[in-house]
């Protein structure tokens, strides 16, 4: 609860700073634009957060996003209908999650290592299947896909056929996904298992929970969300470069999850927290650019802000422990 209030406070401060920095920054257009980016970050933050709750980590998220984006484009270039391509790409995510989950549970490999290897493998796969893809290229080759592609872009991204943002569809998508995940986390038996596994795997095992299966399910959900992130990235971009699309996104996702109250030790985190945590970075980035700072200071600003946040959080926690 205090964690949620903390990140909420941070968001309010960041929004206040953003709005007073520049009239253009506070315009509803700009806020909608920011919200849409928050939505895309949020999808992968949910992915990272679920894995963190069961006491794992997934470093392959960024590469899976990139590989899925490329795969989505290549499938359509090869003549697969856009709607079917969505299905196939999500299936690719399921396959990645299944491999990660089975390696981690059945062979008892460390999640860090398995997904670190995945990070390289899926980046490599992205380069193998295609160098550069783009919606324009797809429409060039298959003009009859234009209508379906535009529909998808409108529904998932909120952009009309001219490429103008009409409504923050990705943010709405994030909210829908968060409600579904929150329902599973907080209202069903599965959520109980995930928290229990993350906090004390033995307790769950001795209670008769099929720990391996639950863990694998979570990795599957995670990678499927990452693939969805890849589809969003494709639809929202003018071009997708196989070597860079989604690179490093896993770390942003993990940061968002931790900001939102997930403990890297596992067993902690809420759906609301994940959404709020995912909202921080895009606001921070926008704020930095509107303050007239150069783009290349963004990583340093993000790092410092998070470090200060972590220190404050730890100090508050220590104090409350002493007074207990």
């Amino acid at each position: 609860m205090t964690r949620i209030l903390g990140v909420l406070g941070l968001l309010i401060v960041l929004y206040a700073l953003l709005i007073e920095s520049n009239p253009a920054a506070g315009s509803s257009r700009n806020l909608m634009y920011v919200a849409n980016i928050q939505g895309r970050y949020g999808v992968v933050t949910l992915a990272a957060a679920l894995v963190i709750i069961v006491g794992g980590i997934d470093l392959s998220i960024g590469s899976v996003v990139g590989c899925s984006a490329v795969m989505f484009g290549v499938l359509m270039e090869e003549g697969v209908h856009p709607f079917a391509a969505v299905g196939w790409t999500l299936l690719f995510g399921v396959q990645v999650g299944l491999v990660n989950g089975l390696l981690i549970t059945k062979l008892r490999l460390q999640p860090f290592l398995v997904t670190l290897c995945g990070m390289f493998i899926y980046r490599g796969e992205a380069r193998l299947i295609g160098g550069v893809v783009s919606p324009a290229q797809v429409i060039d080759e298959h003009p009859h896909f234009e209508h379906s592609l535009n529909t998808l872009t409108y529904l998932l991204i909120g952009k009309n056929e001219k490429g103008a943002l009409v409504f923050p569809a990705m943010f709405i998508l994030l909210l829908v996904l968060a409600v579904v995940i929150g329902f599973f986390l907080h209202r069903t038996a599965y959520g109980r298992y995930w928290y229990a596994i993350g906090h004390n795997e033995l307790a769950a095992k001795y209670a008769g929970v099929n720990v391996d299966r639950q863990r694998t399910i979570v990795y599957v959900i995670c990678s499927m969300l990452a693939s969805l992130g890849g589809i969003l990235l494709f639809l929202d971009s003018s071009t997708i470069q196989a070597d860079s699309a989604g690179a490093g996104l896993e770390l942003y996702a993990i940061l968002g999850a931790v900001l939102g109250g997930c403990s890297l030790r596992g067993g902690e985190g809420t759906a609301i927290g994940m959404v709020l945590g995912a909202m921080v970075l895009p606001v921070l980035e926008t704020l930095v650019s509107f303050r007239g700072l150069k783009n290349n200071v963004i990583p340093a600003v993000i790092g410092l802000t998070l470090l200060v946040g972590t220190i404050v959080d730890e100090l508050i926690r220590r104090r409350s422990r002493v007074h207990r």
């Binding site: 209202r187 069903t188 038996a189 599965y190 109980r192 298992y193 928290y195 229990a196 993350g198 906090h199 004390n200 033995l202 307790a203 769950a204 095992k205 001795y206 209670a207 008769g208 929970v209 099929n210 067993g267 902690e268």
Partner: protein, 513 residues
């Protein structure tokens, strides 16, 4: 000598294990163990560490699969591959390391793995139904219904244990396995657990009860099964359950001289370590003064939380000293870190050997060398010959049961691990040896060896400061006893005045009689 295997009459047999065998890498944990458990009976399984008790329990509960042997539950042959299968068949294990998800509420834990749900495959939690059932289960173990909504981490250890019992009750348990259930309980909580056990028995639940505390076994068990080295060593019927009988089966010989006083000459010589008006961070506001003399064992008694460990940590340099002084051989000593203490010859064998005492995955030799590396080192690295000699010497002197010095410490039994901790510090020839609960979690046989070792050390002039909560150990070993109560030193006892009553009187805040 009591009869070896009292029989249980046929009709009422709940659980029968025949010829259970389990091989782990390098260790044959069980070598054909058989037990029989009647309906509504409490069978205590005792034995030294490494005798195979926990392995046997885990096989019955489906945590491990046995290599050979048969299990029959109510006459039906069973073989559980997972704890879940065992639970569904009515066999529940309450583990010695508490198996609760502490981040969840009591209700969540009570129903973990068998939630009451609606909505079919969606498995939406039926919270109202679960809360109602939870308060009923909690009342059966004597906990207030309000606990149902508390997060487990906010409960005291005793209540956590009762929550585990309540959870087993909710599973229509036929066989309840309790592995060291009282290890973290207070006297009062233990009594409540006994009452719950009695109530369970009367409803026909059969209980397998593992414990190190023989006094406790005498109180709860209807029958005792003793294991030694992975085999049945003997069984005792209710009337024959005595401390001596159990110990005899456990170690395979009679224990005389359990608390030796061979090397010591009585009350010690000159003070080696003195604390004068000592104050330290996180400590009490009243200063502490006491001394440890050469060639004696100073016992330090008190209830859990009386501040004994904290005091030892201050002198060992873990806690910052804010007032008073420490004298070593009459000269003031500044201790700012454990490094200073060790350099001055003050060594601490900590309470939790797994946490502070040993690097478990590393070898016995690695652990033995660790504090002495400065002496073993040369410009060309560690001197291999000298190190090997040190290993050989201490493994032999302490009679550590290990195939070689390369064996990972984690694979030794608790008693042997404790011996390695001793060896590691003794290799430095201490002046003052601080022992915090020297034999906690150690089996009877290893205890006797550790006592002999402590006696020998004191006889050689080492000032031994022994912090212990084990009254028998305190009265048996200490030459002089300092009792602490709520952070301050409540009094000192020795010779005639050193009795159990006097210690308890001081430890609980009473005046000296």
């Amino acid at each position: 000598m009591p009869p070896l295997r009292p029989q249980v009459t046929g009709a009422s047999i709940r659980l029968q294990v025949t010829g259970a065998r389990k091989q782990f890498p390098g260790v044959l944990a069980l070598d054909g163990v058989s037990i029989t458990l009647a309906v509504g009976e409490v069978l205590a399984v005792v034995g030294e560490n490494g005798a195979g008790k926990s392995t046997l329990m885990k096989i019955v509960a489906g945590v491990y699969d046995s290599d050979a042997g048969e299990i029959q539950l109510d006459g039906q042959p069973v073989r559980f591959k997972t704890p879940g299968e065992a639970i569904r068949a009515g066999v529940s294990l309450i583990h010695q390391e508490l198996n609760l998800a502490e981040n969840l509420t009591v209700t969540d834990n009570l129903f973990l793995g068998r939630e009451l749900t609606t909505g079919g495959g969606l498995r939406i939690l039926n919270r109202r139904e679960m809360s109602a059932r939870a308060s009923e289960l909690l009342s059966r173990v004597g906990l207030p219904a309000s606990r149902a909504f508390a997060r487990v981490e906010t409960l005291p250890p005793g209540e956590k244990q009762l929550v585990e019992v309540a959870r087993a009750l909710g599973m229509d348990v036929r066989v309840l396995i309790m592995d060291e259930p009282t290890s973290s309980l207070t006297q009062k909580e233990t009594e409540r657990l006994y009452e719950v056990i009695d109530a369970l028995k009367s409803t026909g639940v059969s209980i397998l009860y593992i414990s190190h505390r023989l006094a406790e076994v005498k109180r709860v068990a209807d029958r005792v099964c003793v294991l030694r080295d992975g085999r049945n060593a003997g069984e005792l019927a209710k009337a024959d359950i005595t401390h001596d009988n159990m110990v005899r089966f456990m170690v395979g010989r009679d224990l005389k001289q359990f608390y030796p006083k061979v090397h010591r000459k009585g009350v010690g010589g000159a003070p080696v370590l003195s604390a004068r008006e000592l104050l330290f961070r996180g400590g009490p506001t009243t200063p502490a003064s006491f001394e440890v003399r050469s060639g004696e064992i100073l016992g330090m008694a008190g209830l859990v939380g009386a501040g004994r460990t904290e005091l030892s940590e201050a002198i060992f340099g873990v806690r910052h000293i804010t007032g008073g002084e420490i004298l070593l051989d009459g000269k003031p000593l500044r201790v700012r870190s454990p490094r200073d203490a060790i350099a001055a010859g003050i060594l601490l064998v900590p309470e939790d050997r797994r946490l502070h005492g040993l690097v478990l995955p590393e070898s016995v030799g690695f652990n033995l060398s660790l504090p002495s590396l400065d002496r073993l080192a040369s410009w060309f690295g560690v001197r291999v010959g000298a190190e090997r000699e040190l290993h050989r010497d201490w493994i032999a002197r302490l009679r550590v049961k290990t195939p070689s010095s390369a064996q990972p410490a984690a694979l030794l039994s608790g008693g042997n691990q404790q011996k390695v901790v001793y060896g590691k510090w003794l290799a430095r020839n201490p002046k003052v040896l601080i022992l915090d609960e020297p034999t906690r979690g150690v089996d009877v046989g290893a205890k006797a060896e550790i006592y002999a070792l402590i006696d020998e050390l004191a006889g050689r002039g080492v000032a031994v400061w022994m912090i212990t909560s084990d009254m028998e150990e305190l009265l048996g070993m200490a030459d002089r006893v300092v009792v602490m109560h709520e952070g301050h030193i409540a009094g000192e006892l020795s010779g005639e005045t050193l009795t159990e009553e006097a210690v308890m009187q001081l430890a609980t805040g009473g005046k000296r009689t």
